[in-house]
Symmetry: C2
Subunit: 373 residues, 2 copies
């Protein structure tokens, strides 16, 4: 297909019109309900792809009544659980290198006994992000409440009735999130309709609608993972960087590092084989950094979930999430993910908006995709 393109210079105007007209037609204040919606009321929100919060919508849940630090430890005990460990609380985030290059860095995933994870989360909360030790966040997002946290699942509803009835689906995943105020989840989107319930502590959501894809400066960036430096043992030399510490000769023998010492010394390692992942690089809280010409038209919606609040986070909305800990130094939430509806026009139209936004920014929306023949 070849085309004359005399009007192509007007394409940025079409992208800007999308964002500006969306915000003319929609509020940036979230709808606040005070009781659960009916399935029909919920479906109206799904149809418009608009979020709402139900204040105290989960207040009657057993989890709200019985969960606290001691109860969680009593139930989970020393059972091994997955935990994401990062030096700065930045799991799945973009970091800027000294040469201005960007990396998408994932946390170091390890297993620890639940009671230790909880205790370390509390200790880190007391000492703050600048205190010693890494930040832990139990956030596996792999349906963990029906797997490793099964003992806690009996305190929660099996699904969200208004969502199950409206969407005619059972949840694809039900997840527990346990962290503290040191963890921030970077701006990203999910292919799920999301019902998010705050149990302990607070979550601070910054939300951008899917039509703002041209604002968030999606880029293909190399993936990396926090990894421990190779532990020092008589059999294995220290990593090159550590070996350059000339206060100790390489012939000296040091004891192997403990698990905690290993986690205290995480370094960023490029993934092998190398992989580039598409990720939003603009942060609505630092709007002048890595902005696109469209970022100025972004209008973030901000909402804090207090204990017992329930959020409907519609599919494909960008969200950045910060946390405040409870008086016990923990922040605990659960969420129910329902697959997005691929039929109808929403999915293909959002793909168009993304593709056009990227083309307007001089990028190819197909970069990074598998060869589609």
């Amino acid at each position: 297909m070849t085309f004359n393109v005399p009007n192509m210079a007007k394409l940025p105007g079409a992208v800007r019109d999308l964002i500006v007209s969306y915000h003319e037609l929609n509020s940036t204040t979230i709808d606040e309900l005070h009781e659960e919606p009916s399935p029909l009321e919920f479906m109206r929100y799904v149809a418009r792809n608009r979020p709402f919060v139900v204040r105290k919508g989960a207040e009657s849940w057993t989890a709200r009544k019985v969960w606290n630090a001691k109860y969680l430890v009593d139930v989970m005990g020393r059972q091994l659980v997955n935990v994401a460990v990062t030096p700065h609380g930045n799991a799945d985030s973009v970091i800027e290198l000294e040469d201005d290059g960007l990396l998408f860095v994932k946390p170091y995933d390890t297993e620890e006994p639940f009671n230790k994870v909880l205790e370390k989360i509390q200790e880190k909360e007391r000492q703050g992000i600048d205190g010693p030790g890494p930040t832990r966040y139990a956030q596996t997002q792999n349906d963990n409440l029906r797997n490793e946290y099964m003992p806690l699942f009996s305190d929660l509803p099996k699904d969200i009735p208004f969502a199950r009835i409206a969407l005619e689906k059972s949840p694809d995943a039900i997840n527990l999130w346990l962290g503290n105020s040191c963890s921030i989840t970077a701006l990203h989107k999910d292919n799920y309709e999301n019902i998010y319930v705050q149990v302990l502590g607070e979550k601070h959501f910054t939300l951008l609608p899917p039509i703002e894809c041209a604002c968030v400066n999606e880029q293909l960036i190399p993936a990396a993972t926090y990894q421990p430096r190779e532990p020092a043992t008589p059999e294995s030399p220290r990593s090159p960087s550590a070996a350059s510490d000339n206060s100790m000769s390489s012939s000296q023998v040091r004891p192997a590092m403990t698990h905690d010492e290993v986690l205290d010394d995480l370094v960023v390692c490029l993934d092998e084989p190398e992989e580039n992942v598409p990720f939003a690089t603009w942060d609505p809280d630092v709007p002048s950094q890595r902005a696109t010409p469209f970022s100025q038209y972004s209008r973030a919606m901000r909402v804090t979930l207090n204990e017992g609040d329930m959020l409907y986070l519609p599919a494909l909305w960008y969200h950045k999430v910060a946390q405040s800990a409870s008086s016990e130094g923990i922040c605990c939430a659960v969420n129910y993910w329902y697959d997005v509806e691929f039929s109808g026009s929403f999915w293909p139209l959002c793909s168009l908006a993304r593709g056009v936004g990227l083309l307007t920014l001089g990028r190819d929306p197909r970069d990074g995709e598998e060869d589609d023949g």
Copy 2:
């Protein structure tokens, strides 16, 4: 705003992907229900912007039980009603001039007694489109059932309960449509959620989803209207074209034309002041004519409404409508229009799809709009 546009050549691919991926994710066969949906079931269709037909969904309506040619005349009598008159059954359609230019031509709107309109519709149906006389179509679309056809409205429900409850709106307009097989409504779209019920005869819908806007070759074309030639009277000379008929000298006196003679001699007149209107110029039934490079990806959905059937025609779907008359030579339908929802993302995303489609075809989507400063 200025941009580098190295990837702009990939824009047509993004438009093609929109259309192709939509059809990969959606059927071109309409969903057939056999009873009215609940408000929630309806809302699921609205959310996906997908049509359905309820076979015999209106079979229990009083109108279905009592309407026939005699009943309609008994109720409406000689009351004056608006009627659209065209020489070829082409109200609101595109016509091609000898120089390949296009005109958007509207019908001649006049008033006639209802009993005459109905009789003329039947007579034209008997004689066929090539027979003598113009084609009449009562199709004012101005909430006529709550105005000129009020006497018939008591045979119809005041609204469609599942739609009223789901959309939380009363109908913006409720219309009667009375015509015959000589009328065809050209491909167009409306800003309404539409519940369309066939009472007598059949309607044949050809439906294209809103994401096919790049297929339908929307163009800005001059608006025109069928008008009677100036009637010949001693006081007023005949129109230039008629005056060139040299079998009669201009000094001869002829009687003024009757109303029917006037309607037999409609000519296309450009609107004054001149106005260009955006209109779809591609016809999915003549796919090689006025096609765009995207028309090949169009996948029309076709559905015939039989007597008593109810169609949900979602907002912004392109539709072309042909008719078959009942054994009495008439085709009669009613429809309920509910305003489209402008909040949410559907409306701005459809505007983006239209804008990008037009830009890709070398046109400016803002042409023809009021100056927006």
